[in-house]
Symmetry: C2
Subunit: 182 residues, 2 copies
């Protein structure tokens, strides 16, 4: 299976853009739709403003017990009722990336409870983590969230909690792209 995913911002695709909120750092240009494709798009299609390239990868921080809990509860994507999606590209600082593995893990989980907090919103809010820093892209990660409309408030709360964490002090660019499947 191809582990590469590209998000093409333009006029095509099943996901209609409801709102693009530039939270920090450089702005991402507004578009009408986002086309999500399961391969690496090498050239920007005509009628498109941007493309974000990424890949899924192995687990980077979770320990076995955390992974077991996650795998037992996390739903797949494309549930019929999950018509809301939010794509959140973030870029972390050079200081984050210069840290050793144990330093990043301590901030990620022991101090910021990243996995533990996300767990509280499962199975309502499904997520897929995508990596892009290694591709030389403008962002380091894209996180794709999918949920039914009744989980919108819970999702907003999850974002507030993540942004209040120590980990987020290392986030220097962040955008929220709110989408509806239609």
């Amino acid at each position: 299976m191809n582990n590469h995913f590209s998000f093409v911002g333009g006029k095509q695709g099943t996901w209609r853009v409801k709102d693009i909120r530039n939270i920090s750092g450089s702005l991402l240009e507004p578009v009408e739709r986002v086309n999500v494709v399961n391969h690496r798009v090498t050239e920007l299609p005509s009628d498109s403003a941007w493309v974000l390239r990424s890949f899924t990868s192995n687990i980077r921080y979770a320990k076995r017990d955390e992974l077991n809990t996650l795998q037992a509860i996390q739903p797949g994507l494309n549930r019929a009722e999950a018509v809301c999606a939010v794509l959140i590209p973030i870029k972390k600082s050079a200081q984050w990336w210069e840290m050793a593995q144990d330093e990043r893990r301590a901030i990620f989980e022991e101090e910021s409870h990243h996995t533990a907090t996300g767990l509280e919103y499962l199975p309502g809010v499904a997520r897929r983590l995508l990596h892009c820093r290694d591709l030389g892209e403008p962002f380091d990660f894209l996180t794709w969230f999918e949920f039914a409309p009744e989980y919108t408030h819970a999702f907003d709360e999850l974002l507030l909690r993540m942004r209040a964490s120590k980990e987020w002090q290392y986030v220097e660019r962040e955008v929220e792209i709110h989408l509806n499947r239609q």
Copy 2:
């Protein structure tokens, strides 16, 4: 700086192939030279038999104290006396990649002493670790070693020690490409 490196096996490049030893798994075709370029090669150049694509990335296992020791002692590449190089592509098993971070770390360092063993051969044997699994490549990692001819025996010993480790039980394909700068 571009973090992508491609190794093109063919008839060009400053590194002449002395020997290709297929250690385990599918064979890699013999070539005369390897051309090392600091970008992603998308199409196989004519006159070439293969291309291995990869990127450098952040630290995945080392803790702060290990990283401090490494950074204090490790030399750069391209030292005038380091006319020998060995490129070692490896692929690890699905079982390895399904493990959680703490399980892989325990095998990598506490049981196999990967970083600690490599340290014993510094600064004589310089190395650069390159990642390729996330690119959908046939190998997961390429390690590039560079040393002066008098370190050849030490380097052979390092390989024997790594291959005797528990970590290497998860290696299912491995090739040694011995090179000379000329």
